[in-house]
């Protein structure tokens, strides 16, 4: 239950980290940010690093930035930093506060990072389903430059993304949501704080009482989170009522290839997909819980 030996490097800038990773990634060097998934995996000897490049001493990576309709989340913003809805303008801040409180437990949220969650790419990541639903962009930095990847192109499978070993996630960019955006989230797990068995996030606006620009994504159900176009089609132009939500849930149920594990047959997750879609949509039509403006 102790990690295998590794070397340790603490760069003073993200560029220095990228240089170092560019030189040593082939030998097995890895980035260490929050470490709340990587460190236990190293302790359990399912992950090995020749060297950990620790981003935690780099200044200026721990605050989100807002501008031009985008919220940018750099490498060292912790899950708990989203506990306050004021972290982002409008409904996005509320959504981030709600989802952040579903992530693991309080002490894990104090250290784990948003960007690290995207890098780790667990199918049950709350930030994963949010990024998929809202078409976030992931900004990668390597010794050879920067590039952006759309969320739809990010995941290759469970715990697998297009990120190359020499890439660092410098930031994730999320679109701010207009004040008239309706959104809802629901996740199911067997115990509080566990990895969710399934979750859904939805957003849309109403024009003349009918749904426009619907986005709905599933997480924890398939190998990676994604928008479900068939469910969005069922919502488009419809009234936000129980019948519409049921139709979207049924469409999602038919559209997926569910994960299977020894405790959870695929048929269960297929059924659960419909349930989480329906409940996320129901939540979108409910008043939102007010969170105190407390410190993270």
């Amino acid at each position: 239950m102790k990690a295998a030996p590794f070397a340790y490097f603490r760069p003073a800038s993200l560029e220095e980290a990228a240089e170092r990773l560019g030189s040593n990634a082939d030998d097995g060097a890895m980035i260490l940010a929050g470490g709340q998934s990587l460190v236990p995996m190293m302790a359990l000897r399912v992950a090995y690093a020749s060297e950990l490049i620790d981003l935690n001493a780099i200044n200026g990576l721990d605050q989100v930035a807002q501008g031009n309709g985008v919220l940018s989340v750099p490498s060292l913003v912790r899950h708990a930093d989203f506990h306050r809805p004021s972290v982002a303008r409008g409904p996005l801040g509320q959504a981030l506060a709600t989802l952040s409180r579903q992530i693991a437990h309080y002490p894990i949220r104090q250290r784990g990072t948003f960007c690290g969650s995207l890098a780790h790419a667990d199918p049950s990541s709350e930030w994963g389903v949010l990024c998929a639903a809202l078409d976030a962009e992931i900004e990668l930095l390597s010794a050879t430059g920067r590039r952006r990847v759309a969320a739809a192109d990010w995941w290759l499978g469970a715990m697998e993304t297009v990120r190359e070993p020499e890439d660092i996630i410098a930031a994730v960019h999320l679109p701010l949501l207009s004040d008239d955006t309706c959104w809802g989230f629901y996740e199911f797990n067997r115990r509080a704080g566990d990895f969710a068995l399934g979750m859904a996030f939805c957003s849309y606006r109403l024009e003349n009482g009918r749904i426009v620009a619907p986005h709905i994504a599933l997480g924890g159900i398939e190998e990676s989170p994604r928008r479900i176009p068939q469910a969005e089609t069922a919502l488009k132009g419809a009234l936000p009522d129980a019948e519409t939500f049921e139709a979207a849930a049924a469409a999602a149920t038919d559209a997926i290839t569910p994960l299977e594990d020894p405790g959870t047959p695929a048929a269960y997750r297929r059924d659960l997909a419909g349930t989480v879609v329906r409940r996320a949509l129901q939540a979108s039509a409910q008043p939102k819980r007010a969170y105190a403006e407390m410190p993270a």
């Binding site: 470490g35 950990l52 620790d54 509080a192 410190p295």
Partner: protein, 172 residues
Amino acid sequence: MSEPINFSLKVNGATYSLTCPPRKTLADALREDCGLTGTHVGCEHGVCGACTVVVDGRTVRACLMFAVQSEGAEVRTVEDLTKDGALSPLQQAFIDNHALQCGFCTPGFLMLITGAFERDPDISEDELTELLSSNLCRCTGYRNIARAVLQAADEIVAGGRNIGHQPNAEVR
């Protein structure tokens, strides 16, 4: 390359200069190198919370940080709660409410609650339940732990709502 690294950190206000291999966790360094065995080590992969400490004002698992990462940090452990032989109000509330049975999880719970309340003094009862679910008590004494926290929180309202040690707080 994985040779020991020299670094220093502050624990409970005192500076320690340590030499640790990078793979040594903060929990192990606190116990073995600082001699502070109040921080317990249970699962060693972030699930049980027995090793919970406060690092630079954030409540974290000491088994999910490598000791070398704490260079220059201010760490607080359960040893910091008692001052001049006087228990902190939370510690006293644990005794009053029979909130410890075997006691193995107790240091982790004390630091979890102390750190969380210092950061967020207005934590609601719902949020308290969620907070306490962070750590495991295999004696399953959660109800009494929750009672102790509520008692301590009440007692400390007048003292600035700091659930840790209050120099001027009356300790029974």
